[in-house]
């Protein structure tokens, strides 16, 4: 017996496909260089925002978006390989892939902030480090891209494998949010409140803005002064 249920909430799906577009954009502008170089940084900012959003959503999103529900613990991996794992979200190996992809993307964005290409690119935080350190971080950026390419290849191969061999379409649920699952595992995630989504987006964009301008500390000064005021008022 199977039943169709909602497993991926729409902010998660939006995140996924925006990330696809942004990563392709970053790749193309990075590889071709020239005129397109000036877009590489802003696209990097978008990816930074998406990553921050995804991490926050991993705590406040719906069930299958939460790290706690899919984090690939040793126990879950063992169970999966023994064929004892049951679930409808990320399976433990897929979860490994999610964590790896997020980590490598974070490395790319993190090093990119300080990177330079000795031509016409300087990350927004380039001035905070020595040129030699920036060069080293640019090297790591390039290396992380190689790793990302391998992970993306594995991602696509895994999707094709699930589709062709296991007759399990992973792409459609990532578009519609819906999946046919065994009835005993069937439970839809609740719909996402607009406020929860908007708050998460607001926090993510604030952090991107602060990181980009290199004065995150300054950016939080209004909050600090609020705290000081609150303390004085004895709250």
């Amino acid at each position: 017996m199977k039943e169709t249920v909602h497993i991926w909430d729409w902010p998660l799906r939006l995140f996924h496909w925006l990330l696809v577009v942004a990563v392709v954009g970053a790749y193309v502008t990075g590889k071709l260089g020239g005129d397109l170089t000036e877009w590489h940084g802003p696209i990097g900012a978008l990816i930074l925002g998406l990553l921050i959003f995804r991490i926050l959503w991993g705590f406040v999103g719906t069930k299958h978006a939460r790290f706690a529900s899919f984090f690939p613990t040793f126990g879950r991996l063992i169970a999966y390989f023994k064929g004892n794992w049951q679930g409808v979200g990320h399976n433990p190996v897929g979860a490994l892939s999610v964590i790896a992809l997020l980590t490598v993307l974070a490395t790319l964005v993190g090093t990119g902030l300080f990177a330079n290409d000795d031509i016409a690119f300087e990350g927004p935080l380039f001035n905070l480090v020595d040129k030699s350190l920036s060069d080293r971080l640019s090297g790591i950026h390039a290396l992380a891209l190689d790793v990302l390419m391998v992970l993306l290849a594995l991602h696509l191969i895994a999707i094709a494998f699930h589709h062709l061999v296991k007759k399990n379409n992973l792409v459609l649920p990532m578009l519609t949010g819906k999946k046919r699952v065994p009835t005993d595992l069937a439970s839809s995630v609740p719909s996402v409140g607009a406020l929860r989504f908007l708050m998460t987006v607001a926090i993510s964009s604030t952090l991107v803005w602060g990181i980009w301008s290199g004065d995150l500390a300054d950016y939080f000064k209004p909050i600090e002064s609020l705290q000081t005021a609150a303390l004085r008022l004895g709250w």
């Binding site: 071709l32 020239g34 005129d35 170089t37 000036e38 031509i119």
Partner: protein, 153 residues
Amino acid sequence: MKIKLPLALALTTVTTVALSGEVEEQIRFRQSAYSFLSWNTGKIKSQVVDHPDTFNKDQITAAANAIAAIANSGLINLYGPGTDKGIGWKQSRLRPEFFEKQDEAKELDATFIKEANELAKVAATGDAGAIKAQFGKVGASCKGCHDLIRIRE
């Protein structure tokens, strides 16, 4: 006394050769060229890409002419045998494979010269949009070489 002077001279010569051998000299010259190049590309980038309000035609023209002069100076002659290993102002970042990729390298050098000459021409017109577009092509020619023959740090 009589023997000390020639000895001192000989020692000086040996030391000078050791410090500024042919290989190190080539590396140092080319590193200097790229350093000076980046001063000029930096000005153009700043004035046509990052802060278009600071556009100054005279400075852009001077920078574009300097870039063209560097491109036309025969930089490829500073890539003699053995110059993948050695310290100029700092360690050379030339990949050893460079010496097996002479044809590609010469082609990239020719592209750089062509685009840099075009940039000098376009700069003289003072058309910021056209300068920006041509500056992008020069940048792409730089990148072509970086991707092919430069070691990642």
